[in-house]
Structure formats: structure tokens, C-alpha cells
């Protein structure tokens, strides 16, 4: 199988990640619950990962790195912390259901969602759309860094500047960018939270994610329980990370996540992005002349990461993906849990086939996959 679904998860992991998970399972007990060696080893794993993440993303203290189950969990905390009754939320037209569904639940509290919609890859139009929707104020804004469907890199620095001028906190969904595109939170002025999975670009195991708390607001809890601190208090601690980390943490998962981030650091995020774009370039070169194909790509790749979507006229995207799978190529088809992105780009009716590259993708397997896909489509 040639794996071209890195936007869903980094199925192929560095060996360092697998070893770190195994080591943690052999050596670590519950972190923060005991003073003996195995508990201290577990705590050391968590702290090391917080430090690695803080350094990678420009967070000024390891205490502001919160471990979550995934990006969806982190986004739920972020959104529900900033929501205010009868004040709207402004989101980009490329958000995932991890943003749309929590906001849908909040509708009953009078929290309306305003969408800043703009054509694909048109960053100036996206900035203008945010300016328009934020003009009359908002409780907060949410913007994905990279569209999970189209790989479109949204102009988050410019959107951050608009939010800062209006004193509106911003949530960044870094699900498709963390580990793939440089992201320095110390440069932001309005970003309050950055949410990311651990198992995609960061190469960690599934069941891991992070919420980076960039601002000074104290987030709300969405689950409560034991933290190993302030145990006589019936309420959750008013400090991070304990406030948001109820229950036993996934120590083997975090060990793997730390190893994944260290692998990325060693290789260099810029190099990884270059590799993903190189693979995408080669892929597009081969499939672009397939009859009736529509590839969603920004030709200069300046605001596109290693994700691209396409469809072929009169060919169901799910049928096509199944044919590719039968030929040994793993891609994803459909709406990719992002109906709003498809609506914005005009592909809601047909969906797309998505091809996504990762840190461990190679040019050789990309060429082979593209030629196989082309052959299947031409049959």
C-alpha cells in the first residue's frame, strides 16, 4: 500500500515514536500520583513533551501546554471557554465539524455563527471577509490554519492582526499544520488558543492532542476529576495544566508524541513542508491531464500545504477511492468532515478525492501512486 492519507493520520510513524511508546509502557506508572520511580518516570515523560511543544510553538511556559485526546477535544475546550451568551462567533468558511458541531450546540444559548467565506486560495478575499464579519464585534473567532480538504493555508497572521485591533480572541485550529508548517505563537497578538492533534503532522500516536494556551484567560473545564493536586478542593484547580487535565493522562501516547516532535525538530519543519510540496508537485504533474479531472490547486503552492483535492466529472469520488484502494493506493474521499469547506469551494454536491502527503512520504512512491491513479481513471 502507498499511503496518501496523512491528513487523516500519520499512519507511518518513525521508529523512535514506536520505541518511545513501548518504553513508556514498560517503565511508566501514573504521572503526578506518586513519588516512586515509575510515577516519576511518567511525570518526566509528560514534562519533556510539554517542554518540546512549548519550544516548537513559541509558548512561554510548559504549564500552558495542555494534553487532550485529540484536536476536537482541544477545540471544544477553546470554543466553550470563549463563548458568551448572545455574542456571535466568527469562523472561516473552511472549518471542520470539530468547530461547526460545538458551535451548533451553542446555538441554544443565543450564540450565532457568522461565516467569513471567500474563494479558495484567495487570501486577500479571506482577510476582507473576516473584516466584514468582525466589524460589529464577536465573542471570538476561529480560523483553521490549513483546510483539511484543500490544503489551503489561511492568512492567520493577518486575521490575528484584525482580531487584535478589535480585541477579539482568536482560536487557531492547527490540525493540518502542526508539524508541517512553522507556527510561532509568540508572534500572535490575539490568539488565545491553538488546538492540534498529536497523531497527524506531529507523528505521535492516535488519542493524543494539545491545547496551547497563548493568552491570559483561564479556560473553562468540560470534564472534571482528579488531577493529583489540591485534592481537598471540590472544584478544579484554577491553574494550568491541572485545570484541564482531569484523570489519568495517556503517558505512552505522550511519550510517542514527544518522540514525534523531536523527530520533526531534527528533520526541520521547513524541510518537511518542502518534501510534501515536492511530492504534491510531482503528483499534480502526472494526473493533471486525466480527462475531465478538476484538481484544486494553487499553482505556485505558496498558500497550499501537502494536501490536495480533486474530482473527475461523472465519476463518484467514493467509487474512485475504492478503485484506488484496490490498486494499493490509500486516499480519502467524500466530505472529509468539512461540509462548510465544500460549500465554500462549491464541491458540496460531489465531494472530492483527497490526497495528502506527510513527513515520511517519498517522491518515488508518489510518482508510482500518481501513475497508478491515472491508469485507474483512464480505464
Amino acid at each position: 500500500m502507498i499511503y496518501l492519507d496523512s491528513a487523516a493520520t500519520s499512519f507511518i510513524k518513525p521508529l523512535e515514536v514506536i520505541s518511545a511508546v513501548e518504553n513508556a509502557m514498560f517503565n511508566c506508572a501514573s504521572a503526578g500520583r506518586g513519588g516512586y520511580h515509575a510515577a516519576a518516570s511518567a511525570a518526566a515523560v509528560l514534562y519533556s513533551c510539554r517542554e518540546t511543544a512549548a519550544e516548537m510553538f513559541g509558548i512561554d511556559s510548559p504549564e500552558k501546554v495542555i494534553f487532550t485526546y485529540n484536536a476536537t477535544h482541544a477545540l471544544n475546550i477553546a470554543i466553550k471557554s470563549l463563548a458568551r451568551r448572545n455574542a456571535p462567533a466568527v469562523i472561516s468558511g473552511y472549518e471542520h465539524n470539530a468547530v461547526l458541531r460545538p458551535l451548533n450546540v451553542l446555538k441554544k444559548y443565543g450564540i450565532q455563527t457568522k461565516v467569513a467565506a471567500a474563494p479558495l486560495f484567495d487570501s486577500d478575499a479571506m482577510v476582507r471577509a473576516f473584516e466584514r464579519q468582525l466589524a460589529s464585534g464577536a465573542a471570538f473567532a476561529v480560523c483553521t490554519h490549513v483546510s483539511n480538504v484543500f490544503g489551503y493555508i489561511l492568512p492567520i497572521a493577518r486575521i490575528d492582526a484584525i482580531c487584535a485591533a478589535k480585541r477579539i480572541p482568536l482560536i487557531i485550529d492547527a490540525s493540518q499544520s502542526a508539524g508541517c508548517i512553522p507556527l510561532d505563537c509568540s508572534k500572535f497578538k490575539a490568539v488565545e488558543y491553538v488546538c492540534m492533534p498529536g497523531h497527524k503532522g506531529l507523528l505521535g500516536p492516535q488519542g493524543t492532542g494539545m491545547l496551547l494556551c497563548c493568552g491570559s484567560r483561564m479556560p473553562s473545564t468540560i470534564i472534571e476529576g482528579g488531577t493529583g493536586s489540591m485534592s481537598e478542593q471540590s472544584e478544579m484547580p484554577q491553574f494550568l495544566p491541572d485545570r484541564l487535565e482531569a484523570g489519568t493522562i495517556n503517558v505512552p501516547g505522550i511519550a510517542g508524541l514527544d518522540a514525534g516532535m523531536k523527530f520533526i525538530k531534527q528533520r526541520g519543519i521547513e524541510e518537511i513542508l518542502k518534501n510534501e510540496r515536492n511530492c504534491m508537485d510531482k503528483f499534480m504533474d502526472i494526473i493533471s491531464d486525466v480527462p475531465n479531472i478538476k484538481v484544486f490547486s494553487n499553482k505556485d503552492l505558496l498558500n497550499q500545504s501537502g494536501v490536495l483535492s480533486f474530482y473527475v466529472k461523472d465519476r463518484d469520488c467514493e467509487d474512485a477511492a475504492r478503485d484506488f484502494a484496490d490498486a494499493g493506493i490509500a486516499v480519502r474521499a467524500g466530505l472529509h468532515c468539512a461540509p462548510l469547506a465544500h460549500k465554500t469551494a462549491g464541491t458540496l454536491g460531489m465531494g472530492t478525492v483527497r490526497v495528502s502527503f506527510g513527513a515520511l512520504s517519498t517522491a518515488g512512491e508518489t510518482v508510482l501512486a500518481a501513475e497508478t491513479i491515472k491508469k485507474v481513471l483512464n480505464e
Binding site: 504521572a31 513519588g35 514534562y47 504549564e63 493536586s229 489540591m230 478542593q233 484547580p237 495544566p241
Partner: protein
């Protein structure tokens, strides 16, 4: 190790212990005596009391949070110190 610097969480204790250790202090993260845990489970940094004033200055200078500071008297009782 006769001095204890209380911390509100294990993460804060790890940060303090690592910073102190890296700066040359003989600091070690511990679970403090229950008598000092007035709000339940906690973590702390243990170190030699002679290094305590300098260690506290180091933590303040580096903006690393910590809680109350105790020194054990010859009787074994911990006494809070204002540094």
C-alpha cells in the same frame, strides 16, 4: 535536604526543580509531607536550606512560580520562611 519549596502542581515543581538543578542547585522534586499539604495532594522541590535564599531569588528572577517555603527545624517540625 532540609528545605521545601511548595508548588501548586507537578508541572510547576518539575519546572522549578529543572531550572534549579540546571543552575547548579541540589534540587529534587518530591511529594511533600502531608502536614504541609493544606489543600491535598501537592508536589514540591526539596533542597539544602543553606541554598534556599539563593534558590528563591533564582526562581523569582526566572519568573517560575512556587508556593510557600519551609525549613525543617532540628525538632523535625517544618517552619514557614518568608524570603
Amino acid at each position: 535536604m532540609d528545605a521545601i519549596i511548595m508548588c501548586r502542581s507537578i508541572t510547576q515543581a518539575q519546572q522549578a526543580a529543572k531550572s534549579l538543578y540546571t543552575a547548579g542547585f541540589s534540587a529534587k522534586m518530591i511529594r511533600p509531607p502531608r502536614s504541609l499539604n493544606r489543600e491535598g495532594c501537592a508536589f514540591a522541590v526539596a533542597m539544602d536550606d543553606v541554598q534556599l535564599p539563593e534558590a528563591v531569588r533564582h526562581l523569582k528572577y526566572n519568573a517560575i512560580g512556587f508556593g510557600k517555603v519551609y525549613v525543617r527545624k532540628p525538632s523535625g517540625i517544618y517552619e514557614e520562611k518568608n524570603i
